[in-house]
């Protein structure tokens, strides 16, 4: 099937990376910052920040000790070299990306925390490194990543291929874990901002004020580190650190009735300067739907076209390194006025959702529904499901149906769970027929936990992480495979190999499952007491009903028995 092509696709062609990383001669490090604003159909507004730091050094080379850091954050550099990390992707997300209303995000992420790491193939104790790494990252990002252990870590065989240089396919060096319950807030944002060369003092990062960022419908921040080529010929490697932050502001709660957006209204700040350390600092506004849906002011003559996610979009570009961008007021405050009336649902080409079916606390069924809304093209998707061990999957009940017909997956990788040691991992390559709904169902039984394994009393239930659908979706327009320096950051994260399709990853919603839980408070005592009473009472009643008691005659003393023997011989009555 197309497994190999799909997997191959996700991994990178070195020459492409080389092209996108042409650098100014002479400089060692490079920093770029970028903000994309995309007005969404629903009337909400999507702002996506990307900060890229490039560093031409190789931590992993033998004998080379890196001690001088300029733009690249030292805390991360040390982590990379200590744990022999080849590639690291970590995201913290609060909220769920609403594909049906907002379309596809530039870089998708699941609710909660997600961490996936490729280790260098020289690492002997991958699990040990992984454990230490999660603990260190937990400290760096002020997050509960230390809750990642072997019970929620998996090694996907096909879904997560390296995005950077190299073509590693041995998934023994890959670790993937999600924490769906992780709450993301200010304490995660501050350390993330500190990794930026300018901090939040200058440049686009001045907009990142937590009181506004967390007054939104969706918030996601991520760090992606990967090795890339330094030049076109790929003679030496460089490390790329991409920090992304995506946020969606809600028209209804923040709009206060007025249908307009401005930088000030979104972030309570305006832009006054670029980060002095940045080689490029740009704001892109998606004006493809302009002027039917909204109007933008101030207008800018600078336009840029980019093919993103299978769609050709037009952007107004505001270059912050140029003084005229800020005008006479010396500040840039973009203003968008809505004209259209949104609210209609979108039909993205690929869309997935998941839910738990059934009722009661014994069994249940996980349904994953994947929609292919392409009118005439079928395409394959890789579905990855990682289910905790306390949901015992009945894998023989696994069914995949499309258009009410059985749809046999062409590739299945299933690793059963081990109680208290390892989660289930299920990966499948499914061909989605055009314009169809494919339903994957599997039944499960809820395990009885040991009494110390239950979470503290105030708990919502047990969370099951999102399943991941990765696919090469047929593109409506020719994708741009030729990367240049001018290519904006948001369109260059996942390299494109063919013109006819683009890579999409869709995360489903996490599940909340209730396990049979004893009430640990008062009734527990009552049950103990009742059980004791019943046990004692039951014992005696059982005796009474089943056994007959007879008085046992005490045996006669020896002298009497001898006397009786004699009496019997003599024929006289016996003594008693």
């Amino acid at each position: 099937f197309r497994l190999s092509s799909l997997i191959g696709h996700i991994s990178t062609c070195p020459s492409l990376i080389g092209q996108c990383c042409q650098r100014h001669p002479g400089s060692v490090d490079e920093f770029q910052e970028e903000l994309v604003i995309r007005p969404l159909h629903s009337g909400d507004i999507y702002a996506s920040f990307q900060f890229r730091t490039l560093w031409d050094t190789d931590f992993l080379q033998e004998g080379q000790k890196v001690s001088h850091y300029r733009l690249f954050p030292k805390s991360l550099g040390q982590v990379l070299s200590k744990f022999s990390v080849r590639e690291l992707h970590i995201s913290f997300t609060q909220g769920f990306w609403r594909t049906m209303q907002w379309g596809q995000p530039f870089i998708p992420s699941p609710p909660g925390a997600e961490l996936w790491v490729w280790f260098h193939d020289t690492v002997s104790d991958v699990d040990g490194n992984w454990k230490e790494l999660t603990n260190v990252l937990s400290g760096i990002f002020c997050a509960s990543l230390n809750f990642i252990d072997l019970t929620n870590t998996v090694q996907p065989s096909a879904s997560f291929k390296p995005l950077g240089l190299g073509n590693a396919t041995d998934h023994r060096f890959l670790r993937y874990a999600t924490l769906p319950r992780e709450i993301v807030c200010t304490e995660n944002l501050t350390p993330w901002k500190k990794l930026l060369p300018c901090g939040s003092k200058a440049g686009l990062a001045v907009l990142l004020k937590s009181e506004k960022l967390f007054h939104s419908s969706f918030h996601s921040q991520a760090v992606h580190i990967r090795p890339v080529c330094q030049d076109e010929q790929c003679t030496s490697k460089a490390w790329e650190l991409r920090q992304t932050l995506n946020v969606v502001f809600d028209l209804y709660t923040a709009g206060q009735g007025k249908k307009e957006w401005s930088l000030f209204k979104m972030f309570s700040r305006t832009l006054t300067e670029a980060c002095p350390l940045a080689t490029s600092s740009k704001v892109y506004v998606d004006i493809t739907d302009n002027p039917e849906l909204f109007e933008l002011s101030p207008a800018t003559p600078l336009l840029s076209q980019a093919v993103v996610l299978g769609d050709r979009r037009t952007y107004s570009v505001f270059d912050l390194t140029r003084a005229e961008t800020f005008g006479q007021l010396r500040s840039l405050n973009l203003l968008l006025r809505w004209k259209g009336d949104g609210g209609e649902m979108l039909r993205p080409l690929l869309h997935a959702e998941r839910y738990v079916a059934g009722f009661g606390l014994q069994t249940g069924e996980i349904h994953t529904v994947i929609y292919n809304n392409h009118p005439y093209r079928a395409f394959p998707v890789l579905l990855m499901d990682s289910v905790p061990w306390y949901l015992q999957l009945y894998i023989h009940t696994l069914t995949v149906t499309s258009k009410s017909r059985d749809n046999k997956p062409s590739y299945i990788h299933y690793q059963p769970a081990k109680d208290r040691h390892r989660p289930h991992l299920l990966e499948m390559l499914i061909q989605l027929p055009p314009h169809s709904m494919t339903e994957v169902t599997v039944q499960f039984e809820r395990a009885l936990l040991k009494w110390t394994e239950y979470t503290p009393d105030p708990n919502h239930g047990f969370y099951v992480g999102s399943s991941v659908v990765s696919a090469l979706v047929p593109s409506m327009v020719a994708m741009n495979t030729n990367f240049t320096q001018d290519q904006p950051l948001f369109s260059s994260f996942v390299p494109v190999k063919e013109e006819s399709s683009y890579f999409v990853r869709v995360y489903t919603e996490p599940l909340l499952v209730n396990l049979p839980t004893p009430d640990f408070s008062m009734p527990y005592n009552v049950i103990c007491l009742t059980c004791t009473v019943v046990a004692v009472g039951y014992g005696s009643f059982y005796n009474l009903l089943t056994r007959t008691f007879q008085v046992d005659e005490p045996s006669l003393p020896l002298a009497k028995r001898l006397a009786n023997l004699i009496r019997r011989i003599r024929g006289v009555p016996l003594l008693t």
């Binding site: 609060q94 609710p111 839910y355 079916a357 919603e509 909340l512």
Partner: protein
């Protein structure tokens, strides 16, 4: 427990129990009834209190102010409902969309087993419309549901309008942590059932429905709103759900707390609370309220849209606006605020509602009787059956020990065919039960062909006919047993054995029923226990047959109908009562078919056969 193991002491104890059996049983029965009636006496009950911290201490400020807009919306909705001749689906979809919700529809259809004459429906076809308010920065794992049924005529318009107004107001708030689903369902319970089955992707009642497109994770709580006038005088809280399930008491506490806070008159079972517990009127009032709850719970049907949610472990209650002739009126804004407060507190929940009681009776909204207090009343009745069984057991064993009975060895020999003979009446009664369960619905066509009755009447009358025909059965079994065993003492032994079996069977049945649905268990115990405990073949047949029939399950239902009508202050004449009785039976059968209520199968398959076994004993020769 040497008391029971020591043979001599045991002999004394069993002797005492057998000698004083009848007085002890009578005392137990009276004590059980008195205990139950005492539950409504205020000093014996506990004051309700909020157990859930997240709902108790957190402050919520209600700011909903668009009650007037809701009322004008109700008029608009009414106009569109009239124009569409049913649910105005398109208008509702547009209205919800313009308020910023994700809107989905679900169509369903259901053919009833026989026409429902109360609601005049047979082939039901409808559409549910629901909009989901997505909570900002929440991962779609938890949801709350607010539902309003779209009823025919001009009832419930205000509920739908208030729902929309609340949706609009809620959409502009940032504090939601759980998604909120606003559901407008058609054909009341059938629509709710279709939606719930669609949401949980189950099919337990043979409903046909289109799959749901949008979901919002596991539902934590649901509120159903019924409101038919612009102003109301009081709000009634309905808790009784399918099979007598009740929501967590904290939900009732929450409602009561907000009624107190906003100064809204609130009732339960339509009865206002009184403060004079120490007067006879006060006590009677509380007892009546509690009796109403017991009767409603016992009948096992869902008394509002909320009742069906309980099966899915979703805490739910119905809030019903009542407009009577009191002077004190409450407007739509205040009701909106009340709901806003309740939903906001539910939104604060950090765990499923589980802190408070699931098993309780409410003599008033501020007083409750927990399971620990009411169970002894049932226990006292159930222990009578066990005492009688113990008595019989001792009697069965006694001839074996007594040297005077030389025929003991003979009696042991046919004991294995003997046990089989006991099985015969057991099997025959249960087959009658199966017939009572299956035939009424399946034979309706034949009955309609041969008799001039409607389908509904056919079903009910067939049920009554089979029930009555069951009474003729003992003669058959008796002749059958006659041929097998002739000796008198074996017959005695047999009837004792049958009675012992039947007593234990009834004890287990009632015990299990009372654990799940106390009210049903208790009502059955009150009527069945005295007659079953005392019945023997050596009684005046005609008199006791009459008493037995008068205390049979069917007559229990009849009495309940009359008592219920008396309690809701709408007494009925005998003929009206009879008509109500017939409709109760048809509704019971319908509830079973449509929503999976278990009262009808319980009565037909277990309680009635068990009662028939005692009927058999009476006619044992």
């Amino acid at each position: 427990m040497g008391l029971l193991s020591d043979p001599s002491r045991r002999k004394v104890l069993t002797g005492l129990l057998t000698r004083l059996n009848t007085p002890i049983c009578i005392v137990c029965y009276l004590a059980g009834i008195v205990w139950f009636m005492g539950l409504a006496f205020e000093p014996f009950t506990l004051r309700t209190y909020m157990s859930e911290n997240a709902m108790g201490s957190t402050m919520v400020e209600e700011r909903f102010s668009s009650g007037e807009r809701a009322l004008s919306l109700a008029k608009e909705f009414d106009a569109h409902k009239r124009k569409a001749g049913g649910m105005p689906v398109e208008w509702l979809v547009k209205a919800m969309q313009s308020r910023g919700l994700e809107v989905f529809t679900q169509s369903f259809s259901r053919k009833l087993p026989f026409p429902d004459e109360n609601k005049e429906r047979y082939m039901v076809r409808g559409t549910n419309v629901y909009g989901i308010l997505r909570a900002p920065r929440a991962p779609r794992t938890e949801a709350l549901v607010i539902t309003a049924p779209c009823s025919p005529g001009n009832t419930n318009n205000q509920a739908v309008a208030l729902l929309l107004a609340l949706a609009q107001y809620f959409r502009n708030q940032i504090y939601w942590a759980k998604d909120i689903i606003f559901l407008v369902n058609e054909h009341d319970l059938i629509g709710t059932q279709a939606w719930l089955e669609g949401y949980h992707h189950t099919n337990i009642t043979g409903m046909e429905y289109s799959p749901l497109q949008g979901r919002a994770g596991s539902i934590q709580a649901a509120l159903s709103l019924e409101l038919s006038s612009d102003v109301i005088t009081s709000l009634d809280l309905v808790l009784e759900g399918l099979n007598g399930q009740l929501p967590n008491l904290d939900l009732a506490n929450l409602f009561y707390a907000f009624c107190q806070k906003l100064g809204v008159l609130c009732t339960i079972q339509g009865k206002l609370q009184r403060n004079d517990w120490d007067t006879a009127e006060g006590y009677t009032h509380a007892a009546q309220t509690m009796m109403l709850m017991v009767l409603k719970q016992a009948c096992g049907r869902s008394w509002g849209d909320h009742g069906l949610f309980l099966r899915y472990h979703i805490e739910a209650a119905s809030v019903r606006g009542i407009n009577s002739f009191r002077h004190y009126k409450t407007d739509a804004t205040t009701i909106g605020r009340l709901l806003e407060g309740m939903v906001r507190k539910l939104n604060n929940l950090l765990e499923r509602l589980h802190q408070s009681y699931f098993f309780y009776l409410l003599p008033s909204l501020s007083r409750f009787v927990s399971i620990g207090y009411y169970m002894p009343a049932f226990g006292l009745l159930a222990v009578i059956l066990l005492l009688r069984a113990l008595d019989l057991w001792v009697h069965l064993g006694a001839p074996a020990l007594a040297p005077s009975c030389h025929c003991f060895s003979v009696s042991l020999q046919p004991s294995s065919p003997g046990v089989l003979t006991v099985l015969t009446p057991v099997v025959i009664s249960h087959l009658t039960g199966v017939a009572l369960y299956l035939l009424p619905v399946h034979l309706q066509e034949m009955a309609v062909e041969h008799f001039p009755v409607s389908e509904t009447e056919a079903v009910v009358l067939t049920a009554i006919a089979i029930y009555t025909a069951g009474l003729a059965l003992p003669h058959n079994t008796q002749r059958y047993t006659h041929r097998l065993i002739l000796m008198q003492f074996i017959l005695r032994y047999m009837f004792t054995l049958l009675k012992l079996t039947a007593l234990l069977y009834l004890a287990v049945l009632l015990g299990c029923t009372a654990l799940i649905n106390f009210s049903l268990g208790f009502i059955l115990a009150v009527t069945l226990v005295p007659i079953t405990a005392s019945i023997t073949p050596h009684m005046p047949k005609a008199l006791y047959a009459l008493v037995m029939v008068l205390l049979s399950p069917a007559f229990t239902i009849l009495y309940c109908v009359f008592i219920y009508q008396e309690l809701i202050e709408a007494p009925v004449s005998v003929s009206e009562g009879w008509m109500l009785f017939l409709s109760v039976i048809s509704q019971g059968i319908l509830d079973h078919a449509l929503y999976g209520s278990l009262v009808y199968p319980l009565l037909a398959l277990f309680i009635y056969p068990c009662w028939l076994m005692f009927w058999n004993i009476l006619f044992w020769n």
